[in-house]
C-alpha cells in the first residue's frame, strides 16, 4: 500500500514538474541520446530514425506492440547490435566503437540468461570479478545484492533449482551488482504471474529510487509502463510515436495509434465544423461525427482547419451514461445499450449510436448488479465534458 502511494506520488510530481523539459532547458547532458538511429535487418527496417533523450535518474519505459523494435533499441544500447546509421551517445560520448564488455551499461535479459553452471552467488559475483575488485569487496557486494533481492537463503542454489520469480530476482541482482549508470530491463516481468508481477514492479521502483540508477524498461504491458515509469516512449513499427509522462500519454495522446494503444478509447470519425464557443471551450473545436446530427466540442491541440477529416477520442470512463437527457451537458448523444460487460467493480456499457458505431461508457458499480437501472436495449444518453474529448488528425 505504502509502495503504491509512493509511485503515484512520484508520477504526479513529474507530471507537474516535467523535469525532462526542465533538464532540456538547463542544457544538461542526457545520460542516453539516440540520434537518428536506424537499424535494418536486410531489407527490413526494425528501428526507423529514432531520436530520443533519456535523463539521469529516469525510469523510462519503452512500450509498444510486439515486433515494433523495443528489444532492438536496447540491444543497440548494450552493444549487441550495431545501428545501420545514426549515433548513440552515453553521457555525451559516442559509444558505438565501444564493445559490449566495456560499456557502463548492464542489461537484464528477457530470458534472465543466468549461467546454469554457476550458483546464485557466483552468478551475481560474475561481473564484479571482472572489475578487478578485491575478494573482500566482491563478497561484501554480493551479500549486499543478495539481501537487496531477498535471496540470501538461496545463495548456493543453481538456477535450475529455483522458481521463475526467484531467477528473475537473481537476474536483477546480477545486473545491478556492478552499479551501472544505466540498467536495461527487457520485459523483466514477462514470466511472472499477476500478483508477483505487481509486487516486483513496486520492488523495482523502490530499488530504482534507492540507488538512483537510470532504468530503461521494455514492456508491452501498458499498465506496467504506467505504474513504474516516469516517462514512456510509445513505439510503433520502428518509430517512436510519442514520449511523455504516463499521465501525459494517457490524457494527451498525439495520435490515434497512441490513444488506442494506451488504455481503452472510443474513436469516432468525422470532420471539423468550426471553432467552439463556451466558457470552458478555449482552443476547442466543434466536431461533427459522420452519420450523427449532433456536434461535439473537444480539445484540438493540432489546430485543425474547418472541414478537415479527423477523429474524436474519448476515454470510456469519461463518458457518463443516464436514462434522462441532461439539459446542461455540452456534449450529448443518444443510443441503445447493446451489451454490458461486468467486471465486478466496473461495468462497461456498449452503446450503439444512430450511425451504427458502438461507444463504450464505463461506470463504477456503486450498487449491486441486480439493482442496476440500465439494462439491455434501453434508450440512453451519453454525455462528456468539453475537456474530455480530443480531436486527432491521424
Amino acid at each position: 500500500m505504502n509502495e503504491q502511494s509512493s509511485t503515484q506520488k512520484r508520477n504526479q510530481q513529474t507530471v507537474s514538474g516535467n523535469s525532462s523539459t526542465r533538464f532540456e532547458k538547463e542544457g544538461r547532458t542526457p545520460i542516453v541520446e539516440f540520434r537518428n538511429v536506424v537499424k535494418q535487418f536486410g531489407e527490413f527496417t526494425a528501428v526507423d530514425d529514432v531520436s530520443l533523450k533519456i535523463w539521469p535518474g529516469e525510469f523510462f519505459a519503452l512500450l509498444g506492440p510486439s515486433g515494433c523494435g523495443k528489444t532492438t533499441l536496447l540491444r543497440m544500447l548494450a552493444g549487441f547490435e550495431t545501428p545501420s546509421s545514426g549515433e548513440i551517445l552515453l553521457d555525451g560520448k559516442n559509444i558505438l566503437p565501444v564493445p559490449p564488455n566495456k560499456r557502463p551499461v548492464n542489461m537484464m535479459f528477457q530470458s534472465y540468461a543466468l549461467f546454469p553452471h554457476l550458483s546464485v552467488r557466483d552468478n551475481i559475483a560474475f561481473g564484479l570479478k571482472r572489475d578487478g575488485m578485491t575478494k573482500e569487496n566482491i563478497e561484501a557486494r554480493t551479500e549486499e545484492m543478495l539481501k537487496l533481492v531477498r535471496m540470501e537463503n538461496f545463495a548456493h542454489r543453481k538456477p535450475h533449482q529455483m522458481s521463475g520469480g526467484q531467477r528473475q530476482r537473481v537476474a536483477l541482482a546480477r545486473a545491478l551488482a556492478k552499479n551501472p549508470k544505466l540498467l536495461l530491463l527487457d520485459e523483466p516481468l514477462g514470466a511472472l504471474d499477476a500478483k508477483l508481477r505487481e509486487a516486483t514492479q513496486f520492488e523495482l521502483v523502490n530499488i530504482q529510487e534507492k540507488l538512483g540508477t537510470t532504468f530503461i524498461i521494455v514492456t508491452h504491458d501498458q499498465e506496467e509502463a504506467m505504474t513504474v515509469s516516469t516517462r514512456i516512449g510509445v513505439m510503433n513499427l520502428g518509430i517512436v510515436a510519442q514520449v511523455d509522462t504516463p499521465a501525459g500519454i494517457y490524457e494527451n495522446p498525439s495520435s490515434r495509434f497512441v490513444a488506442d494503444f494506451i488504455g481503452d478509447v472510443n474513436l469516432l470519425e468525422g470532420r471539423i465544423e468550426g471553432e467552439a464557443k463556451g466558457k470552458h471551450a478555449e482552443g476547442n473545436m466543434l466536431f461533427a461525427a459522420n452519420g450523427i446530427e449532433t456536434t461535439f466540442s473537444a480539445r484540438c491541440p493540432d489546430q485543425l482547419e474547418a472541414g478537415t477529416t479527423c477523429w474524436l477520442a474519448v476515454r470510456p470512463e469519461k463518458i457518463a451514461i443516464s436514462k434522462e437527457k441532461d439539459t446542461k451537458a455540452v456534449n450529448q448523444v443518444s443510443g441503445v445499450v447493446d451489451d454490458i460487460a461486468y467486471v465486478g467493480n466496473l461495468s462497461t456499457y456498449h452503446v450503439r449510436l444512430a450511425n451504427g458505431r458502438v461507444i463504450k461508457a464505463q461506470e463504477v458499480n456503486r450498487r449491486r448488479v441486480e439493482n442496476r437501472e440500465i439494462t439491455w436495449e434501453d434508450e440512453v444518453w451519453l454525455s462528456f465534458t468539453e475537456g474530455a474529448g480530443l480531436l486527432l488528425a491521424e
Partner: protein, 266 residues
C-alpha cells in the same frame, strides 16, 4: 504410453541381440578357457590373461595404442570443438553449407580411402611413417565425430548467456572459457571419449599409416590371428571390449546428464 512386450517383439528382440552379441559373448567365454584349442572347452581359467601380461610385444602394442588414442583424441577434440563453434556460430558466410558438408563428409567416407589418401599425403610431404602419422590420421577422422557431437549441443545453446557475460564485462576469450566451455563440457568430454574409442579400435587407417615400431593393438591382433587364433587374443579382446564399453557408456551418460541438469535452453 507403456506397452507390454508382445511375444513378437520379444522374439524379435531376442534374435536381434543374439545376432549382435553372440560372437562377442563366445569370445569372452573362450577367453577364460583352460584349453589351448579355441573351440574346445577345457574348464575355467584366467591363465591366458597371465600369459598376456608376459607377452612383451602385445604390451608394447597396447602402450602404443593408448598413447595414440589419448593424443589423437585430445587434438581431435580441440579441433572438432573449434570447427563446431565456427559452423554453428559464424552466421552466414559464403559457402557455409559447403563447409559444414565437408566437415561431416569423412563420417561416411570409406576408411580405406581416408587411410590411403593420408598415406599419399605423408609420402608426398616426406613424413616418415610411425606413431606420429597414426596420431595425425586418427585426429583427422575423429575430429569429424567430435564436431558432430559438439555442434549438436551448440545449436541448443542459449546465446544470450554469452551476451550476458559480455554485458558483465567478460572479454570474448574470458566468455568462452568461463561460460561457453563449462556449459558444453559434457558434450566435449563425450566427443573426446568417442574419439578415444574410435582410435582404440581402428585397424584400417592405422595399417595404412603405420611404420616400424608403431604397431597398434588392432594391427598386432590382426597379424597374430592370421597365424592362428590363440586364447591369449581372446583375453586381450575381452579387455578391449570392456574399455570400449565403459567409454561409450560414460559418453552417453554424460549426454543424458546434460539434458537432466537443465543445461538445455528452456
Amino acid at each position: 504410453m507403456i506397452r507390454r512386450l508382445t511375444w513378437f517383439n520379444a522374439t524379435a528382440l531376442t534374435f536381434g541381440f543374439t545376432f549382435l552379441y553372440l560372437p562377442i559373448v563366445l569370445l569372452i567365454i573362450y577367453s577364460f578357457n583352460e584349453s589351448k584349442l579355441v573351440t574346445v572347452w577345457g574348464g575355467f581359467s584366467t591363465k591366458w590373461y597371465g600369459e598376456l601380461m608376459r607377452n612383451e610385444a602385445m604390451l608394447d602394442a597396447a602402450w602404443v595404442t593408448l598413447r595414440v588414442a589419448v593424443f589423437s583424441a585430445s587434438i581431435a577434440t580441440a579441433l572438432g570443438t573449434m570447427a563446431a563453434i565456427v559452423l554453428v556460430r559464424a552466421g552466414r558466410f559464403p559457402s557455409r553449407t559447403l563447409f559444414s558438408g565437408m566437415v561431416y563428409a569423412p563420417l561416411v567416407m570409406p576408411e580405406v580411402i581416408t587411410g590411403l589418401s593420408l598415406l599419399l599425403l605423408f609420402i608426398a610431404i616426406g613424413l616418415d611413417r610411425g606413431m606420429l602419422t597414426i596420431i595425425l590420421a586418427h585426429t583427422t577422422f575423429a575430429m569429424c565425430y567430435v564436431a558432430v557431437v559438439v555442434s549438436s549441443r551448440l545449436v541448443t545453446f542459449d546465446q544470450s548467456l554469452e551476451e550476458a557475460a559480455a554485458d558483465l564485462g567478460a572479454s570474448p576469450l574470458d566468455t568462452f572459457f568461463s561460460v561457453t566451455l563449462p556449459i558444453i563440457a559434457p558434450a566435449v568430454v563425450a566427443g573426446w571419449l568417442l574419439a578415444f574409442t574410435l582410435s582404440l579400435d581402428d585397424l584400417v587407417i592405422a595399417s595404412f599409416n603405420t611404420g616400424p615400431g608403431a604397431t597398434t593393438l588392432p594391427i598386432k591382433i590382426y597379424s597374430a590371428v592370421r597365424l592362428g587364433v590363440s586364447p591369449e587374443i581372446n583375453a586381450l579382446s575381452t579387455i578391449l571390449i570392456s574399455i570400449v564399453t565403459v567409454g561409450v557408456i560414460t559418453a552417453s551418460l554424460l549426454q543424458k546428464r546434460l539434458v537432466r541438469r537443465g543445461y538445455q535452453v528452456e
